[in-house]
Symmetry: C2
């Protein structure tokens, strides 16, 4: 009997008894594309839903080399040692959790992976949407139902992934390196305005002074930008994940944010809005995949698209032709 | 016989003979929601399409009070006097072209409106999508076919309008007032990174020094941001639309941009990408309006949406239920 074929009852029971292996199986079921897994996955999620939500969901992004894995390990260990249960998820196939480094995740996050309070889910492969795995939100529900109260959701920023991750977390942090100007030029547009905190990592040794300078530069830019969360002044902090300095301050800042947004009601309001947006995103995705997945539409699209791009056919006519073949199927 | 009932042949002939009244009629036909106008509008646009494209499409945005109307009049007059034919379009119902000021457009842009080389189309009412009129792109085609070689497309920034306007113009400028920091706080996220130029208006009299200071501040911020157009360094300029100072420099800058992007091929590449994106946007809009416009879906949505927002129903189940009623109609 294959692990995934466990009954929904078994899996849920396993989750509630905090069995990490069972959580892995639950996520495998969630991520499965097999038709026979669809119904049980849905049933399971519907039953897990009331048990989810009691957590803080933290999104973490940053350019490759910003030290995300080292930061997540240091941050995760700190929280585990404080008694939190920490789940680490990657949302995009190319993120460091999976294969971003030669050493691989197991080695890089070994200490965190071995902590009884931690759960690390390697990056999902395939099934992405805008660079983000389709089932990350569902995986969040399963982790929360399994008692994980801090979720660290990593993204390297493929496609629209930051925007999508911002839409599924409570707090979004941007890990950066020294040299704000140069780095920002290479960053995606609008990314700074998605962040609830900028963390200048590798603030240690010879790099310390430069990190402080970079922090000041980011503070200056942040002064001009609109904060990602209303009422919250986006801070720029420094830390050294390698030497575990400044990590506690990052968590204290997250707690301040939680307190502020829970008192103002924004925390819950935000989650409701996110759930609603998720529904609409899923509906739109389904509409589009049924349209563009249609064989006749697929056959016609390249020709029509070229005519529109070359200014030979109006968009109205082009879409009219595509809808004609779609409805006549 | 109502003006809109003119034959397509008559309208096209009128456009080619540069009859402004006929252009107005063409646009009225384009904007019409009446079923009987759909076919002739499509036919007309398909015939105008090969005659369009030879222009520069300039998007202009800015907070209310930034002096957009005054700027557009000064800029438009300058271009008309240089022999250009200038069409001014507003994309959102609340823009100054329609009713943003007590004085009204006729008074505010009187000099430009009376110039034989200018065509001013008041803001469309109704039929907007994300704050932008659905038919603005089609209107651009009609104006170009009628020989207008500079299009000024104004938006005040309702909803997603800047992003949408950015997607239909060659050059996007942001008109700002003095006091960068305060103003940017009130600006929409990411707006600066959409702009190909920042124009600090009202750089005159007592305001001049402050305007220069604001220009320096914007330059500093721009230094950190990714430019809207690859290879183009987004400049910050000052001008006084009221005293017609610095307006010529704005046009010279636009010409430099045109030269650069036409030489690199980016200008045409960008237009092709925009046409393609327009096609996909129109298809998606049609898919969504058919789904959410469905009576059974409409009836069910509020209840389902609430359950999802309250964490009582999974998104998968919710969208499944909605698709069930949609397909069973």
């Amino acid at each position: 009997r294959k692990p995934i074929e466990k009954s929904v009852d078994d899996i849920i029971e396993g989750l509630l008894s905090r069995d990490r292996t069972m959580l892995s199986r639950a996520i495998t079921l969630i991520e499965s594309n097999a038709g026979r897994h669809k119904k049980p996955a849905e049933e399971m999620l519907q039953r897990l839903l009331p048990l989810s939500g009691d957590s803080i969901r933290i999104g973490i992004t940053g350019v490759p080399g910003a030290g995300k894995s080292t930061f997540i390990e240091a941050f995760g260990l700190l929280l585990c040692n404080k008694g939190h249960r920490v789940a680490v998820l990657a949302v995009d196939p190319s993120s460091t959790l999976h294969g971003g480094s030669i050493l691989g995740d197991k080695t890089r996050m070994e200490r965190l992976a071995n902590h009884p309070n931690a759960f690390i889910r390697p990056s999902p492969s395939g099934g992405t949407l805008g660079g983000v795995h389709r089932k990350t939100r569902e995986t969040i529900i399963a982790c929360e139902a399994a008692g994980y109260d801090v979720l660290l959701i990593e993204t390297v920023g493929v496609g629209q992934s930051e925007v999508m991750v911002r839409g599924m977390v409570d707090f979004f942090m941007l890990l950066v390196l020294t040299g704000a100007g140069d780095e920002l030029q290479g960053m995606k547009k609008g990314i700074m305005e998605l962040a609830d905190a900028i963390i200048v990592n590798k603030a240690d040794g010879r790099n310390l002074e430069l990190a402080k300078k970079t922090q000041r530069e980011y503070k200056q830019i942040l002064h001009f930008l609109k904060p990602a969360t209303k009422g919250w002044t986006t801070p720029a902090l420094t830390c050294s994940a390698l030497y575990q300095e400044g990590i506690d301050e990052v968590w204290e800042m997250v707690l301040r944010y939680m307190k502020l947004t829970k008192e103002s009601g924004l925390f819950f309001e935000n989650r409701q809005i996110q759930a609603k947006e998720w529904l609409y995103a899923q509906i739109k995705e389904q509409l589009e995949s049924s349209f563009f997945g249609n064989d006749k539409v697929k056959t016609l699209v390249p020709e029509i698209e070229k005519k529109v791009m070359d200014g030979e056919m109006t968009v109205t006519k082009a879409s009219g032709l595509l809808f004609d073949v779609f409805y006549d199927k």
